[in-house]
């Protein structure tokens, strides 16, 4: 029978910038769970709005929508996705029509889809970790 104290270790997804998260929330995993939950709740309608803006060909609304989404990924330790959003925001500023953004938009959507899946997975891990 081992007398060693049992230490819980959280293994972050490799796409998550662990150092960034720790710099924001220290080792407060309950707080991280809350932040991930809030982010998921808000991202759903925000991404729907983003898609609607693109479908409507509304360049100004599209730029504002991606601007709003952008920092969400910073708060969950995903600066790469935040940078992807920034690049798309810059592209919106330079474009005169959403037609010019089709390929960049497709790239953005793929990045968002992958990132949201990771946030969902990490949120589930935080819940399990905090309940154990």
């Amino acid at each position: 029978m081992s007398n060693q104290a049992e230490h819980k270790t959280f293994i972050f997804n490799e796409k998550i910038d662990k150092e960034l998260l720790i710099s924001l929330y220290e080792d407060d995993f309950l707080y991280m769970e809350e932040i991930f939950s809030i982010t998921l709740t808000q991202l759903t309608p925000d991404i729907i709005h983003l898609n609607a803006s693109f479908e409507a060909g509304n360049l100004s609304a599209l730029q504002k929508a991606v601007h709003k989404i952008k920092p969400s990924f910073g708060f969950v330790g995903m600066p790469v996705t935040q940078e992807l959003c920034k690049q798309f925001e810059d592209s919106c500023a330079a474009a005169t029509s959403t037609d010019q953004l089709a390929s960049a938009y497709a790239e953005l959507c793929n990045g968002l889809k992958e990132s949201v899946a990771i946030i969902e997975s990490e949120y589930g891990k935080f819940k399990a970790y905090n309940q154990s």
Binding site: L20, S23, L24, Y31, E34, I35, I38, T39, T41, Q42, K64, H67, K68, K70, P71, S72, G74, F75, Q82, K86
Partner: protein, 228 residues
Amino acid sequence: MSCVIIEDLQVAAEYTRKCCEKSGLLDVKDHFTNVADALAYLNTTTVDILFLDVEMPGATGFDLLDQLGYSPKVILTTSKPEYAYNAFEYHVIDFLKKPFTYQRFLEALQKAAVKDDSDSPVTSSDKHIFIKSDGKLVRLNNEDILYIESMGDYVKFVTADKKYITHNTIKALEEKVDKTCFMKVHRSYIINLTKIDDIRENDLFIKGTEIPISKAHKQDVLRRLNII
């Protein structure tokens, strides 16, 4: 110090609120997700610090600063560094790029405190509120208000030369007025402490008006007076 958070991204607002609470230095009065709601609040309530996002639905944080009737300390919270120049133009205290660390948040607070020390002492004559009366927002300087009297669902702001009736309650106003000069002395009265002429038993007098002091408030009133 009192503050409000004006931010349309919920996760950023919650994070900022947590930083405020953690600092132990800030009392978060409220959080708004758009400029119109924030302005409605700020035109009737004075706060020390605004944590202000720039791009929000309808209008920007800079639009809010253009329309605000006074100048609280402003700490911008945005994810767009391009606004740094505007921030400089609007004399904001600091510029926090989202997401910011708690350490960085504290540095911004320290800058606010330094500016506080370098500012001229604020007197009651510098402070004011806006009230809705007769279909318009009326500016009342704190030093002009003698007392505020309850009238059911309405209150009466009494100055030396005029009375203003507005839809509000003493209970709600108690939280919003500047506590350095105003004080609730009875369930129906908030008075300007600097306007008291004399106190007799359980009443005080301001410009000839007799105002009751409830038993629950009497000791607090006496404590606030410069009795020698």
